[in-house]
């Protein structure tokens, strides 16, 4: 029973992370899957959302912090909103010079913005606390739930230990529900958007931009809207990450986790499909976490194991691109 509870607790933790990635993958699906925008700077928006939310909701700087600004102690929904707004504004600024050009330019520019955001997070200590990052980010409703569970467990000391183990993780259950609510709401918004007239124009732009322009559609404006909305979703993902991890630092947003894994998730799940984006995030995060367990039995060092796992995911991506470009979970040719 203890083992079973341990597995359940792990799965909850797993689903929180995979669900957060699902939100990022949905954002990328709006940009790339629906409109064909090549964003490879996801990590930048992810980090920006996390930091914005952490600064809006977090505590004032402590005596050990090198930052002198921020920490407004606002409630979580304000942080979520701030994350989305900041990411949207940055996407707008980056979209204006690049969205009239070929996909290559947007791709390179998004790498650039992600790198610039990383440099700002590292160097502007007055705001971001530099490489030490922001600590003690409050988790929404953490205290009431934690206290409630504590009181409950003290009142039922006769419960078997597995029941204690299970109940003590109640906060994670709450956060999982929070993440899944966000994921499902965004999923339904995306489904509505995909089948709306707006979504039809976006798909038309993806397939043939000049044809869409000939039909009198302002393709630049549609592309910009798509980039901004997708970036806002990525910001929400970042905010959910920050309030669960309760700590963010520039190293939490390496290009690998922030960008590459999400691309693999979407390509595997099937670009253009919202369901595929969510499936892809759970499957790829499953592979990523699963190989973590597997490589522990290999005679390699921890860094070598990490490299090996990335090589596995990279090979997986290439196999899907060559043999199933429509993704693993969709039938028929792409779109």
């Amino acid at each position: 029973m203890e083992l079973f509870v341990g597995v359940i607790n792990y799965l909850v933790f797993f689903a929180i992370t995979a669900g957060t990635y699902g939100i990022l993958a949905l954002g990328l699906n709006l940009q790339w899957g629906l409109t064909g925008l090549f964003n490879i700077g996801i990590a930048g928006f992810y980090a920006l959302g996390a930091y914005a939310s952490a600064l809006v909701c977090g505590p004032l700087p402590s005596a050990w912090d090198s930052r002198v600004f921020g920490g407004f102690g606002m409630p979580f929904p304000v942080g979520l909103l701030a994350a989305a707004v900041v990411c949207g504004v940055v996407a707008l600024l980056i979209g204006i010079p690049t969205l009239r050009l070929k996909a290559d330019y947007l791709g390179i520019a998004t790498i650039g913005i992600a790198e610039t955001i990383r440099l700002v997070l590292k160097n502007e200590s007055w705001l971001t606390n530099g490489v030490w990052g922001l600590q003690q980010i409050p988790s929404p409703l953490y205290d009431p739930i934690h206290k409630g569970v504590g009181a409950l467990l003290r009142g039922h000391a006769d419960w078997p230990s597995w029941a204690h183990d299970l109940t003590s993780q109640a906060y994670n259950w709450f956060y999982l529900i929070l993440v899944l609510c966000a994921l499902l709401s965004l999923y339904f918004i995306m489904q509505r958007l995909t089948s709306s007239p707006w979504g039809r124009v976006a798909r038309a732009i993806r397939e043939d931009e000049s044809a869409a322009a000939m039909c009198g559609k302002n393709t630049f404006s549609f592309r910009l809207q798509s980039l901004v909305l997708g970036a806002m979703m990525m910001g929400i993902g970042g905010s959910l990450y920050a309030h669960y991890a309760r700590f963010v630092s520039p190293s939490s947003f390496e290009p690998l986790y922030g960008t590459f894994l999400i691309w693999v998730m979407l390509v595997l799940g099937g670009s253009g499909s919202n369901k595929g984006a969510i499936w892809g995030s759970f499957v790829v995060w499953g592979i990523w976490a699963g190989t973590d367990f597997l490589t522990r039995y290999f005679p390699v060092t921890a860094t070598q194991a990490a490299s090996l796992r990335i090589i596995v995911v990279a090979v997986l991506l290439e196999l899907v691109l060559v043999w199933r470009p429509q993704g693993l979970f969709r039938r028929g040719p792409s779109h």
């Binding site: 064909g36 090549f38 490879i40 010079p97 690049t98 009239r100 050009l101 996909a103 290559d104 330019y105 791709g107 390179i108 520019a109 790498i111 650039g112 913005i113 790198e115 610039t116 440099l119 590292k122 160097n123 290009p255 690998l256 590459f260 691309w263 693999v264 390509v267 390699v300 860094t303 070598q304 990490a306 490299s307 090996l308 990335i310 090589i311 995911v313 990279a314 090979v315 991506l317 290439e318 691109l321 060559v322 470009p325």
Partner: protein, 307 residues
């Protein structure tokens, strides 16, 4: 005043790093114009070249080959041999990646190729990290003193003169190749219009093969020279230079190898000179800002044509 007095020296550093960026940029430009996609793995091919040279150097040292420095340089025969062989091996690796992966995606859209190249980039980087670890590796662990250039008020190391010389020789060679050899002309034709080149009897698969050979060898040259200049290499070497390389290519005009050379020098010099005025931590962002400004003013680049 202090910042201004440093500028001549920073210009020298800029030309050095600019020539390295130019070598990387030519490869990116060639793959873009002939294969039609921005190769995000190019930086990691540079790193591959740098590590192949490191591996060969270790092998030759093990075999007892001498590396007694040539004159004022910090390296000798066995490193020069490793350098030359690493170019060939990297070119071979680039061709192999093309045969195994990109060839199967010849008819895919350019964005699919870009996604594939990101996979290659992370794959390669982690193969290097798996074999050599993430810590810095050194070609030669010896400090070389910079020599004052009389009359100019700048100092330069003999190795850095070597870097600039190699870059000039390689660029001259590429120029000759593209202008005066049959394959070079075929490459320029294919870059202009792949379909037209094919119907005029040019073997486009051979053109693609040569594109990878040249791009791979130039990338290796850039990677090894960066290793000489920085004194160490890490698996992140290519990724750290990628943004500057792309900025150079876009500044000069995406798809124009001569533009890449000009862009490389401009980006290299701007990055170095910027350190006199802004915190060094933001050096990598300088290339990005210049690139965005160029995209706003003239997206086709300094030497680009209208497409």
């Amino acid at each position: 005043m202090d910042a201004l007095s440093r500028i001549p020296q920073l210009l020298v550093y800029g030309v050095i790093s600019g020539s390295i960026l130019a070598l990387g940029g030519i490869g990116v430009s060639l793959t873009y114009s002939i294969l039609g996609f921005s190769n995000f793995a190019h930086g990691d091919i540079m790193a591959l070249g740098a590590y192949l040279a490191l591996g060969l150097l270790a092998l030759f040292t093990g075999l007892g080959l001498s590396n007694t420095p040539f004159g004022p340089l910090s390296f000798g025969f066995s490193f020069t041999l490793s350098f030359a062989l690493a170019l060939g091996l990297t070119a071979l690796a680039a061709v192999l990646i093309d045969r195994i992966l990109y060839k199967r995606l010849r008819h895919a859209t350019s964005v699919i190729l870009m996604i594939a190249s990101i996979g290659v980039a992370l794959g390669l980087r982690n193969v290097l990290q798996f074999c050599w670890g993430p810590q810095p590796q050194y070609y030669i662990e010896k400090i070389q003193l910079a020599i004052a250039v009389p009359g100019l008020g700048v100092r330069i190391k003999p190795d850095e003169v070597f870097i600039i010389l190699v870059a000039v020789i390689v660029v001259t060679f590429v120029h000759y190749f593209l202008r005066h050899t049959k394959m070079g002309k075929a490459m320029r034709a294919a870059a202009d219009n792949m379909a037209l080149a094919r119907v005029s009897g040019i073997n486009t698969e051979r053109v693609i093969l040569w594109t990878w050979v040249i791009g791979g060898a130039l990338a290796a040259t850039a990677g090894i020279l960066a290793g000489i200049e920085n004194k160490f290499i890490t698996p992140e070497l290519g990724w750290q230079m990628l943004l500057s390389v792309f900025a150079a290519v876009i500044l000069g005009g995406l798809g124009n190898p001569y533009g890449a050379i000009l862009g490389g020098i401009v980006i290299g010099v701007s990055e170095e000179v910027s350190t006199a005025f802004i915190p060094t931590g933001y050096k990598p962002a300088v290339a990005f800002v210049i690139m965005i400004l160029m995209l706003l003013i003239k997206p086709t680049g300094l030497l680009g044509r209208r497409r």
